[in-house]
Subunit: 459 residues, 2 copies
C-alpha cells in the first residue's frame, strides 16, 4: 500500500457527507461538530480537573486520554519526555506533543476516531462503562488554550481590509501600500497574551494623542475594536535556515481556529510608526478552543482570488489554497438579552493564502515550531451592503468608518467602538450538504479599564 | 532579620572590589568572570553531554548540578515538574526553572557561590574529587541558549540611533518621530530565531526593491548589518491585565546579555510599512551565553540621561536606572588573522531605561513570563569621532552612512555592509577598580545565502 495514497483515502473516507454518528447530537444539521469534523481541544471537567486532549462530537467531548488508557485508540509512535521516558500525548495540557508526532499519526487517529464514532462502530457505543469515562458533555467541561504557543504571527492578507484602512488613514487614491501586492505583510504578535474563548478582556490603558493635543495622555482606550480573523497552527516545524516551499506549505499546517485580534485603535494610531503595532494589540488575542484540522476542511478548499501581478516564484503555491468558510460577528450589549449579527463575510475572499503566508514567513530562513499560531489578518469581504447593520467588514473601524457612522446594535443602542460590558462573538463554519463543519464560538466580554493614578477618564 | 535588608547585604558582600577567588584565573584584571560576576549559563561537556546550569568563574565553569548533588549548595525551595514530582532546577537545559523560584533564591545562591569560590572557602577548593566533577574548563564546554525564550521584544531606545536613522531615511529636520520622546518604542521580535553566540548565521534571501525598479526581486540581502544591543531577561513575570510599575520594574529583571539584532536593511526598507520589521530581522538574533545578573551589575548603575519632556507618570521609574557598560564591535574578514574594532560605545547613553521599557510593555496589561528577552535597541553613542575606523554607532548602517562611506576593516578590506565569511563580535564589560564584570563574547560568522531557483545573484 502506498502510504500517502492511504492517507488521502483516510481524508476521503472521514469527510463523506453521508457519514453519520451514533452520537445523536452530531447528526443535527446545525451542529458545529458532526462526525466529519472531529476537532481537537484541551479540556478538563467531567469528574476530573486534569487537563487532557479531547475531540468534539455533537454536544459531547470524547476524552482521548481515557480512550487510550482503555486501548480503544492507539498512536503508532511513543512520545518521550525530556528524560527519555515514554508519556501519553493525550494526558497533556497542550496538543503540541500529539501534533509533533506528525501527519501520518494525525491521520491514523482521525481514521480510528471516525470508525469509533460512526454508526457502525460498537467499541465505545456498546461499552457503557467506557462511555461514562470517555464521554464528557461540553456543558460540563472547561476549555483551555489548545496549544502552548511558541510564536504568534499576525498577517494582513485581506485586500479589502488593507484598502479600507488605507482609504481612512492615508490616500484613497493609493490606498494599498506599494509592497502590499508583492508581500503577504505580517508582523510578530505577542504570544503570551493569546487567550481562549470565554476569557474576559480588560480594556487597555495606553498612550493616546489627538492630532491637536500638545502631548499624549495615558488612560483607557477610547477606540477599542475587534478584528475578525482566522488563525492556523503549525503542525510541522522547519529548521532555522530552511524555508518552507509554498507548494509544500499546506502540509505543515495542522488546523485552524477563529481569532479575534482585539485592537485599541487610538493607541495603535499613536504608537505604530515606525516599528508597527505593539501595546495596541498586546493586551489580548482570543481564539476559539477547537482546532479544526485541515483534513476536515479538505472538502471546502477553493481557489483563492486571482493574484495580479503574479507573485514572485517563492510564493507560487498549490491550487485550491483558499477555504470556503462563512464568518460572522455578533455583538451583545450588557443591557441586551441576545446578540446581534453586525458582520458577515467569508474567508474565501482572502488575497494571500495560508501557504503563501507560511512560505513568506520562512523565506528568509526563519524557523517555525509546532504550535506556532498565524493570524490571517482581518477578513473583510468585497461588499458591505445587505441587511441593515450588517456589513462584510471584519472590524468596527471599517463598519463604522472610524466611528463616524455608528452602528445600530439593537436594544436602542449604537456603537462607534466597543463599550464596557459588550460581549463580542465570532462564529465560522463550512457548509456541507446537510451538515456543517463548524468552529464553535470565539467569545470575549469587555471589562472596564484598570483605574490608574495618572489616567484621564474615558470620554 | 529583615529579609530584604539581608538580601541587599548579599549584593554588597558579593560585589566588594576586594573579593578574590582561589580560582586563580578569576583574579586576572582582564577576565570577564571575576568572583564579583558569577553569571549563569547552560553548558554541556567536561565528560557529560547532559545540558546543565553552570556559573562562570575565570576560565572555568562551576557545574551547579554537580554541586547540588554533593550538597555543596542548596536552594531553599523545591521545584516540581508538570506531574508534581520534585526536580532539580540545575539539571535542566534552561535557566527558567531556577529563575522561577524567585529573587530570594537567586540571592541565596549568589551568597553561597561567592562564599564557596572566595579565597576563604574550602568546601570545593579542598575536595579534589568534587572539584574534578564540578569544575569544567570553558574550553572543554559548549554553551547553549540560557533560557527557553517564550517572548522576544526589541526596543529602539537610543536617541542617537533613532536620530541617525531618521536623518538617513526621513527628514533631518524632524529626524525623531513625534512619538519617540513619549514612548519607549518597541516591537515584538521572533523568539524562535534567537541563537547562542557561535552559531553561524546564514545570509537571508528576501524581497528587495530599489526605488526605480518596477518590481522587487527575491534573492540574498545586499545590505546585511548588525545591531549592537544588550538584552535583559525577565526573572519575575506579571499576569495578564496587571501592569508592572516603572518604579518596581528593576525587581522583575534577572540579568543581561549582549545581543546582536542582525538586520537585512534592504529587506527591511521594502517590507516595514505599515506593520514593522519582519523577515529583515527574523533570520537570526545572537545573544551571548552568560547571563550577568542585575545583582552583579549593581555597583555600575548610573543615572540615565535627562528626559525632556518629563515622561508621563506611568513611566516614572527609580533613580540610577542606567548601567555604565562599555560596548564594542569587532569585525574579522575571512581573509584576516585578527578582528578589528569598528565601534565602541557605552550603554549609559540609552535614553529609555530597562525599567521604563518593561513598564511600558506591560502598561496595557500585556503579561510577561520568566525567560522573556527584551532587546535594548541599537546602542549608538553621542559622538562618532575618535580613532580612524572607530565610531560610537552600533550599526554599519550608521557607521558607513548606508554604505556611502565604507569602513576600513584592516587587511586591505573595506566594508559598506557585511560580506560572506565576516565574523562579527560584540563585547561588553563594566569596569571596576582592578577588575571588570564582563559579558564574554557574542559572535556570529556569516554564511552565504541559500541558492534558490528564483534568486538573482548578490551584486
Amino acid at each position: 500500500m502506498n502510504a500517502s495514497t492511504g492517507e488521502d483515502d483516510v481524508v476521503l473516507q472521514t469527510t463523506r457527507a453521508s457519514l453519520k454518528s451514533w452520537v445523536e447530537s452530531a447528526n443535527d444539521a446545525k451542529t458545529d461538530f458532526p462526525i466529519q469534523n472531529l476537532p481537537f481541544g484541551i479540556f478538563n471537567g467531567g469528574g476530573s480537573d486534569v487537563r487532557r486532549v479531547g475531540v468534539a462530537i455533537g454536544d459531547w467531548i470524547v476524552d482521548l486520554a481515557a480512550l487510550e488508557a482503555s486501548r480503544a485508540i492507539s498512536v503508532p509512535y511513543t512520545a518521550v519526555d525530556d528524560d527519555g521516558n515514554p508519556k501519553s500525548v493525550f494526558r497533556q495540557k497542550r496538543l503540541n506533543d500529539f501534533v509533533a508526532l506528525g501527519r501520518p499519526v494525525w491521520r491514523s487517529l482521525r481514521s480510528q476516531l471516525s470508525a469509533l464514532l460512526s454508526t457502525g462502530g460498537g467499541t465505545l457505543r456498546d461499552n457503557v462503562e467506557l462511555r461514562e469515562r470517555a464521554m464528557v458533555r461540553q456543558s460540563d467541561a472547561t476549555m483551555h488554550l489548545p496549544f502552548e504557543i511558541p510564536g504568534y504571527t499576525d498577517f494582513y492578507s485581506s485586500r479589502e481590509h488593507a484598502t479600507n484602512v488605507g482609504c481612512m488613514f492615508r490616500d484613497p487614491e493609493n490606498a494599498l501600500m506599494p509592497n502590499w501586492l508583492e508581500i503577504p505583510i505580517g508582523y510578530n504578535g505577542r504570544a503570551s497574551s493569546v487567550v481562549v474563548s470565554g476569557t474576559p478582556v480588560r480594556r487597555p490603558n495606553g498612550q493616546r494623542k489627538a492630532p491637536d493635543d500638545a502631548r499624549p495622555t495615558y488612560g483607557p482606550s477610547r477606540k477599542l475594536d475587534i478584528e475578525l480573523e482566522t488563525g492556523f497552527f503549525v503542525g510541522v516545524g522547519n529548521a532555522l535556515g530552511t524555508p518552507v516551499q509554498a507548494k509544500d506549505a499546506d502540509g505543515n499546517i495542522f488546523g485552524m481556529v477563529l481569532l479575534n485580534d482585539w485592537s485599541a485603535r487610538d493607541i495603535q494610531q499613536w504608537e505604530y510608526q515606525p516599528l508597527g503595532p505593539f501595546n495596541s494589540k498586546g493586551f489580548a488575542t482570543t481564539i476559539s478552543p477547537w482546532v479544526v484540522t485541515m483534513d476536515a476542511l479538505s472538502p471546502f478548499r477553493v481557489e483563492q482570488p486571482a493574484q495580479e501581478p503574479e507573485p514572485l516564484g517563492y510564493l507560487f503555491g498549490a491550487s485550491r489554497a483558499g477555504v470556503d468558510l462563512e464568518l460572522e460577528v455578533l455583538l451583545k450589549p450588557k443591557s441586551a438579552d441576545s446578540a446581534k449579527t453586525i458582520a458577515r463575510t467569508n474567508f474565501k475572499y482572502m488575497y494571500w493564502t495560508m501557504a503563501q503566508q507560511l512560505a513568506h514567513h520562512t523565506s528568509g530562513g526563519c524557523n517555525t515550531r509546532v504550535g506556532d499560531l498565524m493570524g490571517s489578518g482581518t477578513v473583510s469581504g468585497p461588499e458591505s451592503a445587505g441587511q441593515p447593520g450588517v456589513g462584510t467588514f471584519g472590524s468596527l473601524l471599517e463598519l463604522t468608518w472610524n466611528g463616524q457612522k455608528p452602528l445600530d446594535v439593537g436594544n436602542g443602542e449604537v456603537r462607534g467602538f466597543i463599550e464596557d460590558g459588550d460581549e463580542l462573538t465570532l462564529r465560522g463554519w463550512c457548509q456541507g450538504d446537510g451538515y456543517r463543519v463548524g468552529f464553535g464560538a470565539c467569545v470575549g466580554e469587555i471589562l472596564p479599564a484598570l483605574e490608574t493614578a495618572d489616567a484621564d477618564p474615558v470620554v
